[in-house]
């Protein structure tokens, strides 16, 4: 079977999850490779979650939060942004291309943008090919 | 250079017959933008309102733009605060006429009815007196009918040959024309001084004086700028009036000996045809304007100053008495011809003396000169630096 990447996506409850819902209600088609996990705030995204996703075989991880300044909890998205840069460095050291992790801001009205993002990331991951997670784990 | 604002100026302007609606102007600029006659650097009426609100007298004296307005009324119709900018421009023209007039008479005429009526009555009486003393009706006037049954108009004076009478009238015409022209020209020079010379930011190249000159003549005769207004009827009316004036001036002053002859020319004679055209033009304009002013049908005729009415009445009387002279002449009624002729002059002379240099009529001269002066200023203004906006097209 042709390789299809799998993306685990963490969406904040207030903006991005609603945005993804909007993509649905407006019937905007996008790549089926994305699997959504709802969190209350992008600030809740623990590095362990990202590692777990890669460990379980995800080819990419997408974190979406409210636009800067829009966070329901004031600044959770900034906390996430800080952490995001660290996790990228970390996975790179583990041999996972940092491009496999993305952080994007999706508001509740950006259903279309969410769909485009899903397509774009799927296409990027197709180019990168699968993560050889076994090798990664062995090396570590 | 800074200007001291003058809160008293509004009172001064009020004397020239304008309400205070303009004080409600909140400077949205709609009037300037809606006007078909404004240009990139020719800004009115808003800018004028601003100067008036602040009472910047010097700036107003140098403000040429009111003369470039032909009062189509669009600004007043669309003004969001009903500040009546069109009428303000009209009042400003009256005010400026008085500013240009160095004799101070214009101001007296505009602001005092007794001065104006007194002046008119004095000259009317003078004409009547001159005729009754020096040019009385000859006793056998009833005989002065030529073969074709028309009155021999030059032979009606007791003790005076027809040719002498014509030259007396011709001399009178020329003297009056000279006085009036002298006053008018000196006022225009005054206007030139205030508008062009006092503006130190302007250096007019000599060439511009000549280039602009043809525009002056053209505009004087056609009032062509008027035609840019949305309502072309006003322009048509003014064109009729203006050509009528010019013809009358030509036949009565320049060509008087050919015009005022003992023979009554046949109806198709060029003189009579021209005369009929001119009479029609003036009469048509008068009737239309008078009806408009009474009905207040159009925005520009909604407010009438006393001088507006006086002008219409005087011109109307002149025209009617002129027509009567003509009718009595061809009907062979010498005495009636003589008396209406005297009345005709008794109306015409004061009218010309008041209106041409000091009042309503003068705007026909100021307007083309204003166009000329603004062309001069345009040629003499340093180009303004680009303000950084996307290019504006004018």
């Amino acid at each position: 079977m042709e390789y299809q990447p799998t993306i685990v996506s963490f969406l904040c409850n207030w903006c991005s999850y609603t945005g993804a819902d909007l993509a649905g209600t407006s019937r905007t088609k996008y790549a089926p490779n994305i699997r959504i996990v709802r969190v209350m705030c992008s600030g809740r995204v623990d590095p362990t979650f990202v590692m777990k996703a890669f460990r379980e075989g995800a080819d990419g991880v997408l974190i979406c939060g409210c636009h800067p300044g829009d966070c329901h909890y004031h600044e959770g998205n900034y906390k996430c942004l800080r952490r995001y840069h660290l996790i990228r460095k970390y996975i790179e050291q583990m041999g996972i291309s940092p491009e496999r992790l993305r952080l994007e801001w999706i508001s509740a009205s950006e259903g279309k943008q969410f769909a485009e993002l899903a397509d774009e990331m799927t296409a990027d991951l197709l180019k990168l090919g699968p993560v050889n997670i076994k090798n990664v784990l062995e090396e570590v | 250079m800074s200007y001291r604002i003058d809160p008293e100026f509004r009172k001064e302007l009020g004397k020239f017959g304008v309400g205070s609606e303009w004080s409600e102007c909140y400077h949205c600029g709609n009037c300037t933008a809606t006007c078909p006659l404004t240009e990139e650097k020719i800004l009115f009426p808003r800018k004028g309102i601003r100067m008036i609100q602040m009472g910047l007298k010097e700036k107003i004296s140098a403000y040429v733009e009111p003369w470039l307005c032909y009062y189509c009324g669009d600004c007043t119709k669309t003004c969001p605060r009903d500040a009546n900018p069109g009428e303000l421009m009209m009042a400003l023209r009256r005010y400026l006429t008085s500013v240009y007039d160095w004799t101070g008479l214009s101001r007296k005429f505009y602001t005092s009815k007794s001065w104006e009526f007194g002046f008119i009555l004095f000259f009317a009486a003078l004409v009547v007196a001159l005729f009754s003393v020096f040019l009385p009706l000859r006793p056998d006037a009833e005989q002065m009918v030529n073969a074709s049954g028309g009155v021999m108009i030059n032979s009606l004076i007791a003790g005076m040959s027809p040719s002498t009478f014509v030259s007396v009238i011709e001399w009178g015409d020329w003297i009056m024309a000279m006085i009036v022209a002298g006053l008018l020209i000196s006022n225009i020079l005054n206007m030139f001084h205030k508008i062009v010379l006092s503006d130190h930011s302007v250096r007019v190249p000599l060439r511009a004086y000549f280039i602009g000159f043809w525009k002056l003549t053209f505009n004087f005769l056609t009032q062509a700028r008027f035609s840019k207004c949305d309502n072309r009827n006003y322009w048509a009316g003014h064109l009729l009036l203006m050509t009528g004036y010019s013809i009358m001036f030509a036949v009565i002053v320049v060509l008087l000996p050919e015009f005022q002859t003992e023979e009554v020319n046949p109806w198709y004679h060029w003189q009579r045809l021209l005369g009929y055209y001119a009479t029609f033009g003036i009469l048509y304009f008068l009737i239309i304007t008078a009806i408009g002013r009474i009905r207040r049908s159009d925005i520009n005729l909604r407010f009438s100053h006393s001088t507006d009415w006086l002008f219409i009445i005087m011109l109307g009387l002149t025209t009617i008495t002129g027509i009567l002279v003509h009718i009595f002449r061809i009907s062979g009624l010498p005495a009636a011809t003589y008396y209406t002729y005297v009345i005709h002059l008794a109306v015409l002379v004061p009218m010309i003396l008041v209106e041409v240099p000091f009042s309503k009529w003068s705007h026909l001269a100021y307007r083309p000169f204003a166009i000329y002066f603004s062309e001069l200023k345009k040629a003499g203004k340093p180009r303004t630096a680009d303000i950084g906006l996307a290019p504006a097209i004018s």
Binding site: T6, V8, Y17, A20, D21, A23, G24, T25, R27, T28, K29, Y30, P32, R35, I36, V37, R38, V39, M40, C41, G43, R44, V45, D46, P47, T48, F49, K52, A53, E56, G57, A58, H72, Y73, H74, E75, G76, K79, R83, A115 | M1, S2, Y3, R4, I5, P7, R10, S20, S23, E24, C25, Y26, H27, K47, R50, M51, Q53, M54, L56, K59
Partner: protein, 583 residues
């Protein structure tokens, strides 16, 4: 924890889901998963028969966890939680898989959609196995309310609350009630006497049995949380402690001191006064210069201290209309005086105010525009003769000319600025300040009177300059919140809060630094962090920052999310499903 017994329900949503997702196949694929007792599909799970189906199964099969795989939880999570409650289960033992908005409506390929839907349902099943029952908690509300500030805002709020039968403590720093409004001779735009508005309120408040007015008093300390605050109040030498359930901060503003602006010569030139000094003059009934003469020319300069980066960047909102009011009052008293307004933009925006501007301009008032951000007008003595003891020179923007304005009296429309003790008040009551030292509301659009601290409200111009009508609106808005909480008697607090496992906590205090609500404090005795569950809003940021995993974000625990990820990524190939079908 008891053994999970999970019921799984896959919804067709008519054809909305079933058109793209093979519902039968999904049901079959998940039915064999561990802990799944029963898996069903139905046309409309949200319909009454659908809900009854779940209810019946819970009872019959002793289910203790439920997964519904249907539309977005944003739409029907509450509906199904209610079903669990009706069946006697804790509502949090429920999870929804969103296979409509996230699958059937966004994908076309039936096989792929079915596969993805199966993963989502599987993830939900794995997650729900780790769900814990959570209990809703409520905090009792003390019926008394503390209002700081005895101006029109504080008085209005006080009367609103007291008239409905609840105790109010009205704390006023100065010796009198009425604040700024009592200093106004008249108000815009109808020139109603300021006293006519404020005096009846004061007369009603002072003897009111439910209002205790504290003059010359100040708050020294506030402790506690929503519903249960305790405030220490100093009144002269005496100190008293009060209990209250809610706090309304209505401390207002103070006028800007224009002597900072050298151009205007305030304090140096005798004819230059502030708008408040002019109000006082109006109240006394005579407009006079310092020498007691009636001025011939009066100039009013707008935006003094406002809209200028050197002083305050913001607009003070009321000065334009106040200046128009002044023009009317001057014209009424001095029919022949020259009145000049130097303005930047005429902001007469309120109801009837544009009309007020129009009427004012009819009364011989000269309006001139200056650049409030650039070169300010300069006021200097008139040494050149002519009208006016003072001359104001400026560039008038609407004509482009440099002009001089004669004036015997110059009125400076001074900005409203935050009180000098704003920071202190904010600190005491647990609210924050914006860059201009005004108090920050919870949400600038939809929650202008609440703050990030529950039970503390702000009203009136302490939140930003405001006219009387807008202040009064905010006063009542704050009162509405307070009344609602008093009437309810208690307030519900977030259930999905964080909680610290003090056995694991290493006391590093990372969580404290990331919490936006200051809901975590450090227990010095136990050397561990502790979450105040009343202040916590459940964002979970602390949970992801905790290096030892000691903090749990309830309902979004690490276990729950990690197992959800596992479920999402467990290999469900078509083959596996086919095998499941065959079984």
């Amino acid at each position: 924890m008891e053994e999970p017994r999970i019921g799984v329900y896959v919804c067709w949503c008519g054809t909305n889901i079933s058109k793209t997702v093979d519902v039968e196949q999904v049901t079959a694929a998940v039915s064999k998963l561990p802990h799944v007792i029963i898996a069903r599909n139905y046309k409309y799970m949200c319909s009454d028969p659908g809900q009854d189906l779940i209810l019946k199964d819970i009872r019959e099969h002793q289910l203790n966890r439920v997964v519904v795989s249907a539309c977005s939880p944003r739409i029907h999570e509450l509906t199904f939680r209610k079903v669990l409650v009706n069946a006697g289960l804790n509502p949090y033992l429920f999870e929804m898989a969103n296979i409509r908005e996230q699958v059937s409506w966004v994908h076309d390929d039936r096989d792929i959609a079915t596969g993805k839907a199966t993963s989502l349902v599987k993830a939900a099943i794995q997650r729900v196995a780790h769900h814990e029952p959570l209990e809703k908690r409520r905090v009792d509300i003390h019926p008394a309310t503390l209002i700081i500030g005895g101006g029109i805002t504080g008085l209005t709020a006080a009367m609103e609350i007291a008239d409905s039968g609840n105790q109010v403590h009205l704390i006023e720093k100065s010796g009198r009630l009425g604040g700024m409004v009592s200093l106004l001779h008249q108000t815009h735009p109808h020139l109603t006497a300021g006293n006519e508005l404020i005096q009846p309120l004061i007369d009603k408040a002072q003897p009111h049995p439910k209002v205790r007015v504290w003059l010359n008093s100040q708050i020294e300390e506030v402790t506690g949380y929503v519903g249960n605050f305790r405030a220490r109040i100093r009144s002269g030498e005496e100190v008293e402690e009060l209990d209250c359930g809610n706090i309304i901060v209505a401390t207002g503003t103070k006028p800007f001191d224009p002597s900072q602006i050298p151009e205007y010569g305030y304090g140096m030139l005798p004819g230059v006064i502030t708008s408040l000094e002019f109000e006082e003059m109006l109240r006394k009934g005579k407009i006079v210069t310092k020498d007691g003469e009636s001025p011939c020319d009066i100039a009013i300069i707008h935006c003094v201290g406002s809209r200028n980066m050197e002083y305050h960047p913001y607009c003070s909102r009321v000065c334009c209309t106040t200046a128009l009011k002044f023009a009317n009052q001057i014209r009424a008293a001095l029919p022949d005086a020259g009145i000049y307004q130097l303005y930047a933009d005429m902001r007469s925006f309120g109801k009837g105010c544009e009309e007020f501007y129009m009427r004012t301009s009819r009364r011989g008032v000269i309006f001139m525009m200056f650049d409030q951000k650039g070169k300010l007008p300069v006021v200097k003595p008139n040494n050149t003769g002519g009208r006016g003891r003072l001359l104001i020179s400026t560039r008038e923007l609407l004509s482009g000319e440099e002009i001089e304005i004669p004036a015997d009296l110059v009125i400076l429309m001074v900005a409203s600025e935050a009180r000098e003790d704003a920071r202190e008040t904010a600190h005491l009551t647990g609210i924050s300040l914006c860059g201009n030292q005004f108090f920050i509301e919870k949400h600038p659009k939809l929650d202008p009177v609440a703050t990030t601290t529950d039970g503390v409200f702000i009203a009136g111009s302490c939140q930003g300059p405001k006219d009387i009508a807008d202040s009064v609106s905010q006063a009542r808005a704050a009162a509405a919140r307070v009344l609602a909480s008093i009437l309810c008697g208690s307030v519900e607090v977030e259930v999905t809060t964080a909680v610290v496992n003090d056995k694991v906590c290493c006391g590093c205090q990372t969580c404290i630094s990331v919490c936006p609500y200051h809901a975590i404090h450090f227990d010095e005795e136990k050397r561990v962090s502790e979450v105040n569950e009343i202040l916590c809003k459940g964002c979970g940021t602390c949970g992801s920052a905790c290096p030892t995993g000691a903090i749990h974000a309830r309902h979004f625990t690490d276990d729950q999310i990690l197992s959800q990820i596992e479920g999402l990524l467990s290999p469900i190939t078509l083959k596996a499903m086919e095998m499941a079908m065959e079984d």
